[in-house]
Each structure stands twice: as C-alpha cells, then as structure tokens.
C-alpha cells in the first residue's frame, strides 16, 4: 500500500515538477535522475554536531538549503524557513537551567525533525503530509488545502505557510530549476532532501556543513550516525511528547 502510494506521489511529483517550474522544460527533462546509486535507508536520521558548527557554517547550510529549494526570503513574520538558527534555550528550554549561561544563547540549527510519530501527518485532513517508508516526512504541495492544522500540530515550529505568492520574492535568475517553486496558500518545510537522496546525493545542508552534520541510516548499527550516537552525548527536542524526533544534537 504505502509503497505504491509512494510511487504514485513520486510520479505525480515528477510530472508536476517538470510542469510547474517551466512548462517549456517539461519535454526536455523527464524528472530527476533515477540512478541505480539512489541512496536508501530503513530509517534516515540526522545528527548535528554543535561542537563543530559555527555561525559561518550554519549560514552556509541555510543558504545551501534555501537556494536549492527556492525558499523565498520574506522580510516579515509571514516568512518561510526550512532551516534556521535558534538559540539553544529556545530549542531545549525543557532541558536547560539558569546556569547554562554560555550555552543558552549559542545558536543551533533548527529544522523539521522528521518525527517517527509525526503529529503533522496525523492531523492532516488530506494526507498532503505523509511519512515515507524510510521515515522522511514529505509534503504534496499539490494536494495541500492550506488549512494549517499541521502547523498547530507540529510542536517544533518547523512548518511555514505561504501567506504570499513566494514567486514574488524569488529572483528569476537565481531560480533552481530542479525543484518546484510553490504557490500561494500551501505549507512547506524541510524534506530531508528526499529528491537528492533519490538521485544518489546527500542533503544539501549536510554537504555544506563540512562534516558538522551527519546523515545516515539509524537501523544500520554500523552507520556513521549510529556510531557517533553511541560515543557521544546527544539531545533531541521535547522527547517527552512522544513524537520521536530524528534530528539528534551532539553537545
């Protein structure tokens, strides 16, 4: 069931992708490469090493992601963010105390946690938000009705709604044609770069992080992510909510 739905989504996504970016390209491109070296996992997870990250690196990660996914830069509170900087305290207020002075204000990266038990998927009335078999929580921009129930449901503020037409805030020359621009009135968020993984590439922020962000299969005991989680102390956000977030922070 899940598998065929996934295939369908991918097919629909590809068709829409070619068409919505630039109709004239639709003939030229037949969607992303379906290479044999497609990256697969049973459970994708991300590990962010706060020791290795610095301000400059974080900016690079953010830029790489937002550029690749045509995320508009809207200068007000109706903005779109897939990955952004947030002080430690704001991310981990339930796991901090008053004397964490220096840690408190240090910026960390914040993005969708691709929860194993995602409330955003549970509440969506159209299944426009859904979990893939490998744990990635994806969006179907063409199905979303813009009810924003998922934004109320997400306990991490990971989702953004297109209050504006995002195309008004994108520079035509800077557009990346491998990824669709969205229309007004739908929700979007980090997608763990599912389309890159399907082409055999690692997520853009991982590539830009110079090793500070690891990405791998949590079900594989020998993967990088499992190794480092065994060796070092890590946090996830709001563990008591039972959403089972899959972005781990090494501290």
């Amino acid at each position: 069931m899940k598998n065929s739905r996934r295939k369908f989504i991918k097919f629909a996504g590809m068709a829409a992708l070619g068409w919505s970016i630039c109709p004239s390209l639709a003939g030229a491109r037949s969607g992303p490469r379906q290479s044999a070296d497609r990256l697969r996992a049973e459970r994708w997870a991300m590990v962010i090493d706060s020791e290795k990250l610095n301000d400059e690196l974080m900016d690079k990660c953010i830029e790489a992601c937002h550029k690749l996914h045509n995320v508009p830069d809207i200068p007000n509170d109706q903005n779109i963010k897939w990955i952004w900087k947030e002080p430690f305290y704001n991310l981990f207020h339930d796991q901090s105390h008053g004397y964490l002075k220096d840690k408190k204000s240090i910026p960390f990266l914040s993005l969708c946690n691709h929860c194993d038990n995602p409330p955003c998927v549970r509440v969506c009335p159209t299944q426009a938000t859904f979990s893939r078999d490998d744990g990635i929580v994806l969006m179907d921009f063409h199905r979303c009705i813009g009810c924003r129930f998922c934004m109320a449901g997400c306990p991490y503020g990971s989702r953004s709604f297109n209050y504006f037409n995002p195309r008004n805030f994108l520079d035509d020359d800077q557009l990346v044609h491998d990824y669709p621009t969205r229309e007004m009135g739908v929700v979007e968020k980090c997608e763990f770069c599912a389309h890159l993984l399907d082409q055999g590439d690692m997520p853009a922020c991982v590539e830009a992080s110079e090793g500070a962000i690891l990405f791998g299969d949590l079900n594989d005991p020998n993967s990088d992510v499992r190794k480092v989680l065994r060796e070092r102390y890590s946090l996830v956000r709001k563990p008591k909510l039972g959403t089972d977030p899959q972005v781990y922070y090494l501290i």
Partner: protein
C-alpha cells in the same frame, strides 16, 4: 412557505439591505484575500490560526442551543418549547453555515476543499469536524423544515422524523466535542492539551447559544410583534444560568491546575492571557472584561427575580455573550499559540480585511436567521390566527 420571506415591512427590508451591504464589503475583502493570499491577514508563522478559526469555535457553540430545547421537549415532554423550537433549529442552520464559511475563508487553497472528501483521512480531527458539522446542518434543515410543514398542515410531525430528532441530540454534543478535539489532541500546545476542553466547550456553548436565542426572541417580540412565549424564555434563562456556572467553574479548574502546579509550560499561557508577557498585554484587558462579565452575569441570573424581569435578563444575556465571545473568539486560539513552541511571545491583532471578512460572514448568518425566522414565525402566526 418561502413566499413568506418576500412579504415584509419596510423595516424588514431596510434590515436586509444593511446586512447585504455588510456582506458586500466582506465579500470585497475576501476577493482581496483570494488575490493576495492570507498575507492580508495578521496571521503569521507562529500564530497560524486567528480570528476566523476562533469564530468557528465560538459559533459551533451557539449552534447547539437548539438541542437544549429538543431535550426538554422530546425527552421530558416539556411543551413550553413547542412554539420556539423551530427558531432554535433555524438558528442552528444559520450558525453552522457561518462555521463552514469560516473554515473556507481560512483555507490557503479553498478551491481544493474537495480534497478532504477525495482523500478521507480518519486520523484527522478536521476530517471528522467536517463530517459532524455538515451532518448537523443537514439534520437541522431536515427537522426544521419537516416539522414546520407538518404544523402548517395542522398535523403532527411524521413518525419517520422522530429518529432524526433523537439522533440530533448526541449529534449536537458531537459538534462541540469534535471541535474541542481539534485543539485538545495536539502535543506541544499545552494550553489546549487538557481533557477539560470538550466539557468547557459544551458549558460555554449551552450558555452562549440560549443567551443569543433569548436576545433574538426579545427582538422578535419587539420588531415582529410575535411572542415566543414567556415560559420558554424562562426555561432558557435557567439553562443559561446552569451552563454559565459550569463554564466559569471549568475555567477556574484550568486556572487552578496551571497556577497551583506552577508548571511553566501551562502557566505561561494564562499569564499571557491575563497579565501579558514581555510587554505583550493586548489581551489582558479583554480577558479581565470577559471574566468580570461572566461573573456579573452569573450573580444576576442566580436570582429568579432578575431572570423574570425582561430587561435585566436581556442585560445578563448580553454579558454572557460578551464573556464567552472574548474567551472563545479572542483568547483561546491566540493563547494556544503564544508562547510559541520556541517560547517566544508576540501579539496577534486581526487585520482590517480579516475583520471585514468576519463581519461579512456574520452578515450572512444574520441574513439567514432573519429570512428563516420570518418564514417560521409567519407559519406560526397563520396557525395561531385560525
């Protein structure tokens, strides 16, 4: 029967024209919203539901008032409501239509609304809310129309309608419960994450709905010169009193839990509501007014003498509506979002277009109530004249 809607006094027509003007302005604002998206609202990344969804929440409550007459009348054979029941049912029709409109104007992609039906998703409470709201609308139109037609022919309502009437009782409860579950089941929204959400929705509903019904009944008495019956209004007033007491009690319970446990995640929302946080104090004045109005109304209504004086009763009903409207229509939704999941504090105040669209939908609701009541009262008059 509908011909009764087009025969009316000058006053009736002026009232309809005023409503149409309000609707027109609201529709204009909605066209602007369709064009520029929800960017014309004051909603944002953190407070992603606002005035529209709050009105849905408030009006779902009002819609239930019919059931507070159906129960006494059909389960306890309390005949005082016989004359007025149709008004309650028609009010339910109008308020549910308003609720559905508020859902639609809140959508980013309203033309895709049908997707909820194409991809039914039982895990989503919003899906169930759509089911129960539409079901309740259907039930009230059916019951209202069939019973009115039967009365007109001077016969009892047909037997087959009885099951629908009985079903409408739990169904009315379900619309609040499911609407409360929209909020009460979300992890990470501590203000809403409480089992008392559904009961307190019911309590405020059974206070606000009958209060509005009493006020409208008085309006009918004055403007249409038709008396819905003193006993019915007195019974409704008792219902308002009980429900108001329960509503205030449940608010007190919530405040106790947050205040005595002093769990910051719970407490912060109440502090934000009543005192403001980090200088964001816009809501606090309203919230104190809401609580004061609720308590004052209860103190008035507790005394049978006050309830029996039409003027005082009307005043108390206005207080009840002010109290519940502020609590549901302003406080409940915003305070659920603030402080945000990142513990940030902000103020949400609806924008001009948002307010105009909201008024426009209220205009539609009042238009429907006016026309339907005109028909209902017209039929009643006919019967009583013979």
């Amino acid at each position: 029967m509908l011909e009764k809607a087009i025969k009316g006094s000058a006053l009736y027509w002026i009232w309809l024209l005023v409503l149409l003007a309000v609707i027109g302005v609201g529709f204009g604002a909605y066209l602007q919203q369709l064009d520029q998206g929800l960017s014309v609202t004051a909603l944002n990344r953190d407070v992603s539901w606002g005035l529209y969804i709050a009105q849905l929440t408030f009006l779902v409550g009002v819609a239930a008032s019919a059931v507070m007459m159906v129960i006494p009348m059909y389960l306890h054979n309390h005949k005082a409501f016989a004359r007025m029941l149709i008004l309650g049912e028609f009010m339910a029709v109008a308020t549910i239509i308003m609720c559905l409109l508020f859902v639609v104007v809140d959508l980013g992609q309203p033309q895709r609304l049908w997707n909820v039906v194409l991809y039914p998703t039982p895990s989503s409470v919003l899906f169930w809310d759509m089911v129960v709201l539409n079901g309740y609308l259907f039930l009230n139109i059916l019951i209202g129309w069939v019973t009115l037609q039967a009365e007109r022919k001077r016969v009892g309502p047909p037997k087959w309608i009885k099951p629908f009437i009985y079903i409408s009782i739990p169904w009315a409860i379900s619309i609040h419960t499911v609407t409360a579950f929209l909020y009460a089941g979300l992890p990470g929204r501590d203000f809403w994450l409480t089992a008392s959400m559904a009961p307190s929705f019911l309590a405020s509903a059974f206070a606000a709905g009958p209060a509005l019904l009493i006020l409208l009944a008085f309006a009918v008495k004055i403007f249409a010169k038709w008396d819905p019956g003193r006993e019915a209004i007195q019974s409704l007033a008792k219902i308002v009193t009980y429900a108001l007491a329960a509503y205030l009690f449940l608010i007190g319970c919530k405040i106790f839990t947050a205040g005595y446990s002093m769990v910051p995640d719970k407490l912060a929302h109440w502090q934000y509501l009543y005192f403001g946080l980090e200088g964001h104090t816009m809501l606090s004045g309203f919230m104190w007014a809401s609580t004061a109005a609720g308590v004052a109304a209860l103190l008035i209504l507790l005394f049978p003498k006050n309830r029996q004086a039409d003027n005082i009763l009307a005043f108390a009903c206005v207080l009840v509506l002010i109290s519940t409207w502020i609590e549901k229509g302003m406080g409940l939704i915003t305070a659920g979002f603030v402080p945000t999941p990142m513990k940030e504090v902000l103020t949400y105040a609806p924008s001009g277009p948002e307010i105009l669209i909201t008024l426009g939908i209220y205009g539609i609701g009042f238009l429907i109530i006016t026309v339907l009541w005109k028909v209902g009262i017209g039929v009643r008059r006919e019967i009583e004249a013979t």
